[in-house]
Amino acid sequence: MLTLLREEVSRSHDRALGIMDFRYAPIALGDTVTWLTKLQVLARSHGVKKIEVLISVPPYGWLSQYVTSYNYVEAVQNILPAFLCAPMMSSLRVYSSPTNAASAQRILGSLLARAPSWPSLFSHFRRNLDYQSHFKINEFFRRHQWIPKLASPKGFRAETEAFKKTHIGGRTPVVINIRQSALTGTPATLMRDSPADVWHEFLVRAQKLWPSVVFVLVGDFSAWERRIGLLPNVLVPRVFGYGLGHELTLLLDGSPFFGSSSGFAAVATFSDVPYCITRFQYGASGYMKGMGFSHGSDHYPFAAANQWLSWVPETVDLLVDLFARLWNICRPAERWRQ
């Protein structure tokens, strides 16, 4: 009689279950990739090689300030490619129903199999998700001296290569993200926004200083100013119909990242690409402490030598200095690649 449940239990033994329940989890790129990395860390800690991502999209009962029963599908559409960045993912299940009966069967299977899950089922039932902190990641790094990284999402490589061929040509792409939440329809934590004037001036100067570089401006379509998009050394993939999946592919396939502390910075954090994250927030350091990381630390504990953070507010000179440092690191690799 309970054959399906028995099958669910036996299927749960060799995998970790990641539950992203949008009744309480935030829909944001940075939080999603941090969640995904923690899920991979959990799976590795328990010695399992597969993860299963369960996304629960209830059609109503939303708690978020901006996501409602009217626009939730758009939010899902925008964030979906981020879930495809986990190389350990063996299956993806999206449940959208009022009762969540089918997802309950899956979770019950995991509960009975005592399989690892993130968040833990105890936390999931309490709708309590630690989506920000790096404590578990730091702890895993302390034990193993490595962490599982993100990879480019499946299915976007061919179109991204076409974008590079058509629009970038022989220039070197550098992915930039200027946090401008105030320009969007869902403004949040505006103190983390970067000054557009400073970035515009930096990009104008960069035309002369680094003529072979093209800055690929990624992020929400509304989150950039027209004057920045009009610069000849700036490309915005979204005006050519490309989306988050293509931007993530471009970034995770090795283009250096330079930008403010936001969602794309979190993607770079959990990858092998060279990066410099500007305007890192003092408030955020509390969530990331451990392994010697504190206010003003240059690197995350698990970062490579070519991955670092800047804590001071951006000025044009600071951006020029930071980018010169990043460029000096990337240039030998670019030469070799060419």
Binding site: L2, L4, V73, L80, P81, V94, N128
Partner: protein, 347 residues
């Protein structure tokens, strides 16, 4: 210490204790239900509900749910094939509130599945998607979804990959996208020129630049009230190139995939290949001309009895085809079958 000093000190101490009580202890007491009772209550409700729903789902009659299997291949026409299979399986009015839709995807490792997760919104608001990347995973997944009878149909669905899928007559009927996308599409067209008529275009891959712009420019004088909306990634011309004023590319305004589907459904005419946009306009009843590509076999086989759809070859003279289409669309000014609004969900 003077008496005055003692009174002052005593009063200060009293104020300190009172403030600690008022601003620390009272808020703590007030927050106790939130801090303690709420998590416990949530845990009890969540745990009980998971057990109840999980057990009920595993013993329920699996034949009440609609199931669709699809093998996702890295091919531009495959999403259209999936949309037609979905429309055939979930005809208009088939999905009731208590019927669940399960979509099982066996994906090629190089295929993008995000479109497949979104396309079911054309037919249903409540559904479950199960995507796996290899056959062993699929077997384990199917075992959790039903008995041998229920799974047999799915296996047959999943074994078909590149064959053209015929469109059933019962599938014809306006898809129901969420209201958000229908509204965004309508506002896009209204804000550009509310009084114009719009022809959605899904170009043949790689042929847009030269031939299409020339054909659309030729038509600008004959049909001054028409605007053309190229959809999808093939719509993009080179960076910052100047387009004639009667061509508007929605993707350049940050319009996403589902809103572009809504544009195909709400436009006054459609010209293009039988991709997912073409299928949407066909299902909706928009006057449509579908172009068959020489280089690719058709993903879908359309009904003969679709009066609003005309088939043409991709290398046919574009200006002539467009002129015929716009004349047909002008003859049917009132597109009665197009949905005026999207679907709302209320608790």
């Amino acid at each position: 210490m003077t008496i005055f000093g003692a009174v002052t000190a005593g009063y200060s101490r009293y104020r300190a204790i009172r403030n600690r009580f008022l601003f620390s202890f009272v808020p703590y007491l007030v927050s106790l239900p939130r801090r303690c009772v709420r998590p416990v209550a949530l845990f009890c409700v969540g745990f009980t509900r998971t057990i109840r729903h999980g057990l009920r789902n595993s013993v329920r009659d699996q034949s009440t749910s609609i199931r669709l299997g699809h093998k996702v291949i890295n091919n531009p026409g495959d999403l259209a094939r999936f949309a037609v299979k979905l429309a055939n399986r979930c005809g208009i009015g088939d999905l009731q509130q208590d019927t669940s839709l399960d979509v099982i995807l066996l994906a090629d490792s190089e295929a993008d599945i995000s479109g497949y997760v979104l396309v079911p919104y054309l037919r249903a608001r409540f559904f479950n998607i199960h995507a796996v990347y290899d056959a062993a995973e699929l077997d384990a997944l199917l075992a959790t979804l039903g008995g041998a009878d229920a799974v047999a149909g799915l296996r047959s669905d999943l074994s078909q990959s590149g064959d053209p899928v015929p469109l059933d007559s019962k599938a014809i009927g306006p898809p129901r996208l969420p209201a958000f996308f229908m509204n965004e599409a309508r506002e896009f067209m209204k804000s550009h020129d509310w009084s114009a008529r719009y022809c959605a275009i899904s170009p043949v891959s790689g042929t847009f630049l030269a031939g299409w712009i020339k054909a659309l420019c030729q038509l600008a004088e004959t049909y001054p009230n028409w605007r053309f909306l190229p959809l999808g990634l093939n719509a993009f011309v080179t960076e910052r190139s100047v387009l004639p004023s009667n061509i508007v590319v929605p993707g350049r305004a940050g319009i996403g995939f589902l809103t572009q589907l809504a544009i195909a459904m709400q436009a006054d005419a459609f010209l293009g290949v039988a991709d997912v946009y073409g299928i949407c306009s066909t299902l909706t009843g928009v006057p449509t001309t579908l172009l068959a590509e020489d280089t690719r076999p058709a993903a879908v086989a359309l009904l003969e009895e679709c009066p609003h759809v005309r088939r043409a070859l991709a290398h046919a003279p574009l200006a002539d085809e467009l002129a015929m289409l716009l004349d047909r669309a002008d003859a049917t000014v009132d597109n009665a079958s197009a949905p005026a609004t999207g679907e709302f969900v209320s608790a």
